[in-house]
Symmetry: C2
Amino acid sequence: MARTRHARLDCAPGCPVEGTLQMIDGKWKGVVLFHLLSGTMRFNELRRQLTNCTQRMLTRQLRELEADGLVHREVYPEVPPRVEYSLTARGRTLEPVLLALKAWGEDHVIAPEIPAGEVELTLVPG
Amino acid sequence: MARTRHARLDCAPGCPVEGTLQMIDGKWKGVVLFHLLSGTMRFNELRRQLTNCTQRMLTRQLRELEADGLVHREVYPEVPPRVEYSLTARGRTLEPVLLALKAWGEDHVIAPEIPAGEVELTLVPG
DNA sequence: GCACATAGTGTCAAAAAGGATACCGTTATG
DNA sequence: CATAACGGTATCCTTTTTGACACTATGTGC
């Protein structure tokens, strides 16, 4: 179970907002869910996308997402081990949320990714 | 400054998602921002909307939101004290995010508010 | 004087989240 | 045998967040 921010969510008209945040607010969950939007990924594949994410933390967050029914974990009987993660149907419904978060972040938190070879200088008022 | 989930946000394409979550993920921030969408509110007015929210926590979260430029705090030279909170222009840009969070929460986390007088029984499979 | 209204602040403790490290299991290969 | 690949787990520690409690400021009315 993800973090329990609120023991009960019948507090006010805004509670659904908090309820959703309760599902996705662990460190790395947002970006993990975002990556899985584009398709199934294996553990290390995911991890390589996440700079500075430890194995321990990734495992924890994935297990919580799985427990909350947002992520599906498929174990293949192979050696070396092969485990794939994908969004559940329920997890897929988070797409509008994730895209909204991404859009806002790009506009207000960090500069968007700049494709290689396309460098643009931006002057920031002193 | 709100919680520092990530020291740096240049880690991957999904980082804007984490960047936005970093701004709004304190307990009560989501629901506070949501309420302020509909207009300016005073401290206790806000608090009455938030079941179980302590004065201390509300103050803390409001101060963080203010520091991050999402909320404007207006102090009136009156007694009793009168302080009003409202969304900044920057805070207003979070509307799509907040509405997406609310929509998902209503559909997947909790039942939506039922207007008084309109009671509907829902059977949950054992 | 006291009580009331409003909106806090300071401080410490408890709870929760995140981090570090060592270790594990399986099979395949040289 | 050692090493590699992959995806973990256990355990303890550190840091952060939240909660509890006491206290604060101002003017007004009784």
